[in-house]
Amino acid sequence: MIDLIDVSKSYGPGLPAVNHANLHIDKGEFVFVVGNSGSGKTTLIKLLMKELDSTSGQIIVSGERLEGMKHRRVAKYRRKLGVVFQDFRLLKDRNVYENVAFAQRVVNRPTRVIRKRVPEVLQEVGLAVKYKSFPDELSGGEQQRVALARALVNRPDILLADEPTGNLDPKTSEEIMKLLEQINDRGTTVVVVTHNKDIVNSMRKRVVTMHEGSIISDEKEGEYHEA
């Protein structure tokens, strides 16, 4: 599903943000990418999102090679991904329903499909009753659920989450992680970048640890190791 072969990314002279990384993730896996600030985990996610181009190496996602991918092909590629950020990135002037529907509108889904699919996905994330609320009227956890609903509404093959619990309290973080686990149980490959030690240690999932751009460990039912 995801293959990184000797991937490096440099922003300039000095140590590369990602340094000769090799990683293979199978379809349906749940993977944590952990590490301290500046370890290169966010750069890794950005490479997978094709927000950045690698300096060297090969990245293959769902059979598509990302290096040299034409700009106009990137939009189609991203439709295979769902993305969740630490700061939720919701549209403040639109309610919950519109925020989720927006993701469908962007990929040109007909209105009848949107009307059916959006309530379904809101139900999945437990926000069906709040579909008329605006982001500012929601708690952090609820906002992250909306972001998750938006990421899932187009049924992506892969869900990339960059510090999804970074702005949330421990209890809400746990709820969000449970939700991600449920999503993974339905067959979606989930990659979560985090530095939340408690969550990583409690979930016993595959853990890829990064330090100064390099992958220093990759454990099947791993724990968070300080580098």
Partner: protein
């Protein structure tokens, strides 16, 4: 594109304009001012050209023939001259007609001319009067005619040709310079307005791109915004100019009534046949170009 997507694009385009209404208004006003100036200049250039063209047609070249040239040869010369693209029309004047005109002009019915009754002093003065549609090519045409067989002499008004040609050129250069300047200013302004719109929606654009929106989908509302600004910015000055033009002509003709019958102003509908599509095209074009290049910078996410 699905109807729902078109509807979304329209809604977002109008929303952008409303959200940045101050900048939108500033763009419309500046664009309107630019197109208004363009319209004024266009009207002046066209009227000056029209007057110059009329004068051009009244300054003919006169072509005289060698002695003994037959009618057939004269006709052949006429045919060759008429075939030239810069020639508007030619008129033939026989020797008798030339004498009649001369008598009319200089003897004014006096009996002195009767002495030449059976002996036309202008027997060798049959000629063609050649009227041109582009007086700047007069010397070129004169050289061509002088080379023709059986042509004895060609009279021309070099000074008039030069002056008119120069006026035409000057007006054209100034108009081109002003039009280019106005275009640059307008594109800059539209680009600024769209930039503000994009700054406000930068986050939204980023989200759209992460979700998998194509550049065209992201760009469409901004292009629509530019187009709407362009159309309104062109329509307003066109309406104002329509009334100003008619008002200005009646004012000039009333104030300087010596010009009545001398200067023919082009009617407003005739000016608008060209000005309307050009101005709307300019408005829409400037709007589209300004928006297109501004959004391009922000789409590389």
């Amino acid at each position: 594109m699905r109807p729902s997507t078109i509807w979304y694009t329209l809604k977002q385009g109008v929303k952008n304009i409303k959200r940045n209404w101050m900048f939108s208004l500033a763009s419309i006003i500046t664009m309107a001012a630019c197109i208004f100036l363009f319209g004024i200049f266009f009207s002046i250039v066209n009227n000056v050209n029209n007057i110059a063209h009329k004068v051009e047609q009244e300054v003919p070249i006169t072509v005289f023939f060698e002695e003994g040239t037959t009618n057939k040869q004269i006709k052949a010369i006429g045919k060759k001259i008429k075939a030239r693209p810069e020639v508007e029309k030619i008129e033939y004047q026989s020797a008798d007609e030339a004498w009649e005109e001369y008598k009319e002009q200089y003897f004014q019915g006096s009996e002195a001319a009767d002495g030449f009754k059976d002996d036309n002093p202008l027997a060798n003065s049959a000629n063609y009067r050649v009227y041109m549609n582009d007086i700047t090519k007069q010397s070129e045409l004169v050289s061509y005619i002088q080379e023709l067989k059986h042509v004895r002499k060609v009279n021309q008004s070099e000074e008039a040709a030069k002056t008119l040609g120069n006026i035409n050129k000057l007006v054209s250069y100034i108009s081109i310079a002003i039009i280019v300047l106005l275009l640059i200013i307008s594109i800059f302004l539209i680009s600024n307005t769209v930039s503000v719109g994009i700054a406000v929606r930068k986050e939204e654009i980023g989200i759209m791109k992460y979700i998998g929106a194509t550049d065209a989908f992201v760009r469409a509302p901004f292009l629509l915004e530019g187009m709407v600004l362009g159309v309104v910015g062109a329509a307003v000055p066109l309406i104002v100019l329509y009334f100003c033009y008619n008002g200005a002509i009646s004012y000039i003709l009333t104030r300087f009534n010596v010009l009545t019958g001398v200067v023919d102003f082009i009617p407003v509908w005739q000016i608008y046949q060209t000005l309307l599509p050009i101005s709307l095209g300019l408005g829409i074009g400037i709007g589209l170009i300004g928006s297109f290049f501004t959004t391009r910078k922000h789409l590389r996410v």
